[in-house]
Amino acid sequence: MWSVQICGAGRAGDGTNTQVLTLGQVFKDLGAWSFIWREEVYSNIQTRDSAFGLRVADQPVYGPDDEFDILEAFDQGALVDITGGVRVPPLARLKKGGVLIYDSSPRLEYPNAGHEVHPEVVADVLERQRVRVYGFPFGQTARERFKNYIVRGTVALGVVAHLLDLPDEPFLHRFRRTFGEDSDLYHMNRDAFLLGRQMARQEGCERLGRRPDLTPIADDQRQLLLGNEALALGAIVAGCRFYAGYPITPASEVLEYMAEKLPRFGGAVLQADSEMAAAHHVIGAAVAGARSMTATAGPGFSLMQEAISAAGMTETPMVIVLSQRGGPATGLPTKVGQEDLNEAIFGGHGDFARIVLAASEPEEAFYIMEKVFNLAERYQCLVILVLDQMLAQSSYTIPPLDPSRFVIDRGKLLDAAAVERLYRSNGRIDYKRYLLTKDGISPRVVPGTPGVTSLYVNTNEHDEAGYITEEMAIRKAMVEKRVIKRTALIRQDPDLPPPRLEGDSEGRIGFIGYGSVFGPVVETLQRLAERGQKAKFLALRTLWPFPSKEVKEFVRSCDRVYVVEYSAGAQLLGLVQREATGPMPRKLRSILRYDGRPMTPGYILAEMK
């Protein structure tokens, strides 16, 4: 596999995120595959130093590699820890013989004052690492030539295009798309880009080399999108028409995407006044008959626990996307974590059936929404899709998505004719919301269905008609309906996504994980294979009901199994032990990361003991 990795490091406001994204789009347009992530974004709104990563390859990539080939620096924070603390600057991850491009002009405009780049401070490192260093006065040039300081990032893009030997047209195509054909901003960015390329040529910048020929794909239907966008798209295609949410990192993009797109399809987006309200809005809309959803992160999910129990008791189809970040409490709002798995599976008070699914990458996140909504309505229960910050807020190039593959199954939702047929007696319709049926699932109706005036949804223990009861026999029957029968039924559902097996099935080294660890673990398998070690990976997609049988068989087929997760409490390992294997202390090992930074193949290899 060929791949190249670039880091854009500056201060918030320097536009490095935009540059990296544009470059990723250009590579995609050239037929390559891009992965763009937030390498270092601090949870503050002031203009602190930050870094964005782009990895490009000739095949799909789902995670960062350990080292960068090019570091683009707009801020001294790219080279040293300007806080004087123990922060590891992006330079530490620049490859031996890599390229440093930096803005050599002073900071010219508010708000990004100070911390101009001075590579002489790290001259020893640059020399030792044999880094090729190119400084250009991007800021001054942009200000003088274009009377626009911000466009310095586009000048820098021109230099990067030269280094990577990329043609002009894909860049110009992206500028046209962003700024509008023939707009002033398009012309300015085009000229800035071409100037950058010319500056690099004049400076005699040596090309990075060893790039395979990239060929644009005819009628390229591949997507470049965030995990959050993929799942939001999938939700809309799955028929979600009501979304309620409260802004929270790393789930806010779902709210924003829904707010922009859902009205087109006759849907409504209600920005709630808390996650507690949002989750209850979802229940209300679901009772009304809309496919409904919310998305949140750990702190918001805690506020939803009460509503989760209400959905369980009322047998209301409810969908929650849980994007995990470092916790507990406010924790690391912008950084990756997988510390909320236990709360997803065991949260809420009382016993009730639920389904917890996970996606490994955006293509899966898109298609899994079909299952999420179908399962929620089929079993009239809560379905949680568990993601993490790396998957939610990274952009991936993925194969074309096909919405026509979605099949909508609304379970036992009755239309007016069926209601007439089934419930008309003695001149009136005697509908019972919690009718005891053989499989434990009662038919649902949408309020407003002609003649139905006895739809009673109740969070108290209730009889078949919904009225409160504490009678022993009914209580027992209702619990068995909600918990025991339903869980047994769910376990057998073929729509529960089975674990995804990657690598060499003969391997005796095993990995288990879910979510964004997928990319780094799959690449770890490749590196192990290069060393002649056969290994395999079981990526879990159904987390509850836990796939005990598959996990047990997988573990049995291995000599050593590493459970890879972003949780100091090893929550996934705990589940594996509880639900599948028992303790097995010699065979089962953890590979954990809880510093908020992404897993990489190098990290995983180093942690294998």
Partner: protein
Amino acid sequence: MAVYTPEKPLTQADITGPGAWWCSGCGDFGVTAAFKEVLLTLVNDMKVPLEQVFIFSGIGCSSKEPEMLRVNAYHGQHGRSIPVAMGLAAANPGLVVVDFGGDGDTYAIGMEHFVHACIKNVNMTLIIMNNQVYGLTKGQASPTAHLGLKTSSTPEGKKLRPVNPLKLAIAAGAAFVARGVSWNKKELAQLMLRAIQTKGFALLDVFSPCVTYHREPGFRGSGPIVDWYRTNYVLDIRDAWREMREQVFTPEEQARLPAEYDPTSPEAATHALRLIEEAAKLGREVTGLLLINESVPTMEENLGVSKERAPALVDISVRANLKGYQELLAELR
């Protein structure tokens, strides 16, 4: 499709549930009786199909309302009936949404939702059975318990300042603000119907005395506690307008303002607030219709949803939406 015809009108029996939850003499019976009358009027006279009515409740004595009835309902958790009702109202604006809450349910644990529902102007009616105590947990002081009221949780008398829901609703921009009393069914039913007909968020706070746990010195039992309210506590806004004119308004205002209180006046909000304040000086709470203002867009209007364009009822088939989905995909290439 109206189910009940002139030949076979809806009757009390059709809408009566199996519940029998309240103490004999409880004010909540009066609220229920008034609501049943409203339902009969809505269905038989105004031709609203009963299946379009959806009621909500939370936790408390008040929240047993759906148990007393046979209508479509959601009986939820403590304080959470409003956000659930908001989701349903947004998903199907064709439904008539009426939420029954108590003073603890709404003005304590559900306060967040109450204030935001007023602000968002959700097209729904909130009927509060306000009795100053937590009846279901045996008589602790509620947020509306008046200063000095002795209860099991305030043995020395209530010291914390009570919540004034009318002031809150007015300040938060509710479209309809009124207070009824459970012992005057005719007027209560009129207020309920008007609240339901109002476009926007309607608060109807109802004094619904607790005959078991609300104890006033010298007043015990269901008859006397109602007497206490009538003689010691309530003041009709129309009487307040006439009797307190001179204390509340300047001579210029008095000359300009009409003889009778007008809840539809653009100044109704400030008038009501001033009368509430003045009545409070006498230890009185105002009753009656304080305010109707339908000029503000509802939450549903702001969301772009309507009876004809209800998120719960739109066609979600992939075939019907495929072109739109393809456009979404193209936007992310």
